[in-house]
Symmetry: C2
Subunit: 213 residues, 2 copies
DNA sequence: TAGATTGTTAATCGATTAACAATC
DNA sequence: TAGATTGTTAATCGATTAACAATC
């Protein structure tokens, strides 16, 4: 497999296709067209065709794709096949919310343990995931070859946690703390930025209310 | 004020500038340069200069901006001045996490009430916010002129909640349910899409692990 | 003055959309 | 066959980055 580089935006849309294909009735039509997918997801049909062409070669004019084959190809591409183990650090409200989120395994991610500095939490379970003392973070990551870390600690602790994760071999970090993490070049940090979203919402409202006058 | 249209990406970066400017020591330098901001946030300096020029005219060569004036201009632009009231629907784990998030008021958003269909929750408080029966959603939105709604209900209920919000005058919806909401053209829906983020993480890992071989 | 920093114009880049030939 | 659907090439669009003159 080539470490081929598809456009980032395409990559982000692939899970939408997976979700839609899975939502189709099992006893429905055998085939699905890019046009139909585009229609259902309110996307441009050329865009969908291009996306699909990048990860599958099963498309046939007039017929479309065999639904199950297409689904397989996309999941294959995304690497959903082999489930990835992840750790979550920080079992505050947001951490708990993520732990309770049922959808992760569907996307090939399994949170094998959660960590917190509060010693009274050690040994407890949150939504079925064991909480361990933060001191054990590095050990467990190394021992289990963990490559993905989710950071849901307060801003003040985020960089320290990040450093520990990186030092323990983690290569991808999903950061929910509102801070810019410093990492080596080979480590990917994905920031979930609520403030940016709020700015977009807020501005839209300003404009709507202004124009309404 | 014009309903001027700055680039979406600029809009998303503005909160980062606000946060950084607020983090500076009160007794520090009076001025700040776009160059310094860019450096601190790991952004391109031309990009920052362009962003700032769009919302402030206080920049002076060799000197930069007066920190407090710049902060005021950005916040002014974002409309953080007048706090916006919002409602949150669905007090599951994610809803609770958002309610506990202290940062909203900082961005001009105040969640005035939360709603849930579970009648046993009615009248309780979650992190200081009152939980009301979902039946009262429409009434309260209309009465309080609520323009922003946050949806943290399961996918199956999301569209129904969305319809109620829109019918009650809400113009901006922050959707955490993994579904595409149908709304009139003047309503903005901002989707918080965890699956897309996971796809990006997952792919990066594939490549890292592949290349490492 | 010298040079750091601004704002702006032009070039580049990445993604979307339009146009269209190929094909089942 | 006719026409729906594919994949691809070209045009457009939006954002980033480079180059540079203006200025304090």
């Amino acid at each position: 497999m080539q470490p081929s580089s598809i456009p980032l935006q395409t990559l982000k849309r692939l899970p939408l296709y997976v979700k839609y294909l899975k939502s189709l009735p099992q006893n429905g039509a055998l085939n699905i067209s890019a046009t139909a997918i585009a229609e259902a997801l309110s996307l441009n049909s050329v865009q969908v065709r291009k996306d699909l062409a990048l990860v599958s070669s099963g498309g046939r004019p007039r017929i479309g794709y065999i639904t199950q084959d297409l689904l397989f190809d996309i999941e294959q591409y995304l690497g959903y096949g082999d489930t990835r183990s992840a750790v979550l650090v920080g079992t505050g409200n947001l951490g708990k919310a993520l732990l309770s989120y049922k959808g992760f395994s569907q996307y090939g991610l399994e949170i094998v343990a959660a960590f917190d500095t509060d010693p009274t939490l050690a040994g407890t379970f949150v939504h079925g995931t064991r909480v361990l003392n933060a001191q054990k973070l590095s050990d467990l990551c190394k021992r289990m070859n963990i490559r993905t870390g989710i950071i849901t600690v307060p801003e003040s602790a985020a960089q320290r946690v990040c450093d520990t994760l990186v030092e323990s071999g983690v290569l991808a970090i999903w950061n929910f703390a509102p801070t810019k993490l410093k990492v080596p070049q080979n480590v990917l940090v994905l920031n979930e930025n609520m403030a940016s979203s709020l700015a977009v919402l807020s501005k839209h409202l300003n404009e709507q209310l202004y124009e309404a006058k």
